[in-house]
């Protein structure tokens, strides 16, 4: 693969995972809650999307995926607020329960391809690929450019970028509405939200729903792009999301919510570029998870290290 193709493929993957990074950003940074539902809701988005797409509704499939994520978030939110179960455990419980649901959605198998059986003119059964947003968009690009070999990755990058741009705009606007601001405040000082006569439980639940809807949206996009859903795709997804958010913060620092949203998307792109480079130097694909974990650990330690170094320098200057 030449460098340009590598870049396109990395950016395209980065865009597909960008809503997931946004979801992690909403839960961890905005709402200040460690939500582990994410691993499960990613696959839930994938699975529901696969089922609906196979039935012939690729657009509805994306929406169904989003709705499924929101539902998963609703359950985690209710566990946290109404039953008072610790945030981390609530997420793990929902995630574990989702495994069964995802398994059932995929028809009791660990993966499901976006295709259906059709009888052709000669009377023989053949497998036909289901329509997807990516397939439709690529044929549109082929028509527009007249280039029959229009790069599938480039086409995917363009359409996903458009979708992510719209998502980013809507999300950024949302956080300045009354409801959105209440969610931000709930993550910042929940007691103050209650004393402002706002139902903080409701804000918290909405925030977790939003977060998981975004994560599931990523799962749905990936499902349509790679044309299959996989039961095990979600494991470690949270760490990937965290890595993206943290890498974004390296570029932009920790500032307002709009910058945070943009930086999560950039972080997701950067993360995929790093991965592609690692593959390029022949890192085995199973090493991805370890790499992600190491990135998160390093990124979390860096600020501390920086502070310690600058303090030591300041101490030295004091002496001289």
């Amino acid at each position: 693969m030449n460098l340009f193709a590598l870049l396109i493929s990395a950016l395209s993957q980065g865009m597909i995972y960008a809503p997931m990074a946004l979801g992690v950003f909403v839960a961890f940074s905005v709402l200040n809650t460690a939500d582990l539902t994410i691993d499960g809701s990613f696959v839930a988005g994938m699975s529901v999307c696969a089922v609906v797409a196979i039935s012939g509704h690729p657009y509805l499939a994306l929406l169904a995926g989003i709705a499924m994520g929101a539902l998963a978030g609703l359950i985690t939110g209710l566990l946290q607020t109404k039953l008072g179960i610790n945030a981390i455990l609530s997420g793990i419980l929902t995630m574990t329960g989702l495994y069964t649901i995802n398994f059932a959605l995929l028809g009791g198998q660990s993966n499901l391809y976006l295709q259906r059986m059709e009888v052709n003119a000669a009377g023989a059964e053949t497998q036909v690929a289901s329509e997807t947003v990516y397939k439709t968009f690529r044929s549109l690009m082929v028509q527009l450019t007249g280039n029959k070999r229009f790069d599938a990755n480039l086409s995917a990058l363009i359409v996903t970028s458009l979708i992510v741009a719209a998502t980013v705009a809507l999300l950024a606007l949302f956080f300045y509405t009354r409801t959105g601001m209440a969610i931000r405040a709930t993550g910042d000082n929940e007691e103050m939200v209650r004393s402002s006569s706002i139902n903080a439980d409701r804000s918290r639940i909405l925030g977790i729903m939003l977060s998981n809807a975004l994560v599931a949206f990523s799962g749905a996009l990936l499902c349509e792009q790679q044309r299959y859903a996989d039961l095990h795709f979600g494991s470690g997804m949270l760490v990937v999301g965290l890595a993206s958010v943290i890498i974004g913060q390296v570029f932009f620092g920790q500032r307002g919510v709009t910058i945070g949203i943009i930086s999560a998307v950039i972080g997701s792109l950067a993360y995929r570029l790093i991965l592609q480079l690692a593959y390029k130097i022949e890192m085995p694909s199973y090493a991805v998870k370890l790499l992600s974990a190491v990135i998160v650990i390093v990124a979390l330690t860096l600020p501390k290290l920086k502070r310690a170094l600058s303090e030591r320098r300041a101490a030295k200057e004091d002496v001289t």
């Binding site: 300045y176 509405t177 009354r178 959105g180 601001m181 209440a182 931000r184 405040a185 910042d188 000082n189 007691e191 103050m192 939200v193 209650r194 004393s195 402002s196 006569s197 706002i198 139902n199 903080a200």
Partner: protein
């Protein structure tokens, strides 16, 4: 006219354990509209517990709370907050540090705000700027500044504004100047007097400063072991000195009103 009625409030914490504590032991109080009551008592007397009961932070074992004719005993805390503003000792408790002054005020103003798509809108912000100008802390030009960047005193002044901006029926002040340096505390206290007088708020204020307790407001209650042991107002209160208060307490409660902080400030 009675604004707030507390009828025989009772709360026992950690019942059935060796740490069992009767926090409220049959507290009854009628608060008239426009009353400014100062609340004294040694540590653990039940002052903050009383406030938390009014705020709905826990469920009472017994008793009723009526605010402006409405029984709120079983109302959820965030619903009561519609009519009750509260300020604590810690300036950090009342504000969201990562949000701007404007956003904090807009949030506190939620229930009275102008209808708009975005939470922050021009009409409300103009009002916020006017209110901030009255504080005289230069905050009116810093609407876009993050709350976390303000000093403790500035944050407490902003919290005071937030607690009163939606015109609550009742304002509860839980030693809201105790964590500030003397000069700032003085300033926040002046602001408090001004705002309470301006809006004719009904107010309960916990303090450890006995001079302050007798000077401010129109009525003083003293709590001990979950009970109100002294309740003075009018002429009787006007004539009362700190020493007189201590004597009265000793006579009624059968022991000294002992509290290091209180003695130092007396």
């Amino acid at each position: 006219m009675t604004e707030l009625t507390l009828k025989n409030l009772r709360k026992v914490f950690e019942r059935g354990t060796p740490n069992v504590k009767v926090a409220l032991d049959g507290v009854s109080l009628d608060v008239e509209r426009g009353d400014f009551i100062t609340v004294l008592g040694s540590n653990g007397a039940g002052k903050s517990t009383l406030f938390n009961a009014i705020l709905g932070k826990f469920r009472l074992d017994q008793g009723r709370i009526v605010l402006d004719g409405e029984d709120i005993t079983r109302q959820r805390d965030y619903r009561r907050a519609l009519n009750i503003g509260c300020l604590y000792q810690d300036p950090m408790r009342g504000t969201a540090p990562h949000m701007t002054i404007e956003e904090n005020l807009a949030l506190a103003y939620t229930r009275k705000a102008s209808r708009s798509f975005f939470a922050v809108n021009r009409r409300d912000s103009a009002k916020f700027r006017d209110l901030l100008r009255e504080l005289d802390l230069g905050l009116e030009d810093r609407l876009k500044t993050r709350m976390g960047l303000l000093s403790g005193g500035q944050r407490q002044a902003a919290s005071l504004l937030m607690a009163t901006i939606a015109e609550p029926k009742l304002l509860l002040l839980d030693e809201h100047t105790a964590a500030l340096d003397p000069a700032t505390a003085e300033k926040v206290l002046d602001l408090t007097k001004r705002i309470v007088a301006q809006r004719r708020l009904t107010c309960l204020m916990i303090t450890h400063n006995m001079h302050q307790a007798l000077e401010m407001g129109n009525r003083t209650i003293v709590m001990d072991a979950g009970k109100i042991v002294l309740d003075v107002s009018g002429e009787e209160r006007a004539r009362l000195t700190v020493q007189g208060l201590l004597d009265r307490f000793r006579a009624d409660a059968g022991r000294d009103l002992d509290n290091d902080r209180m003695l130092l400030q007396a």
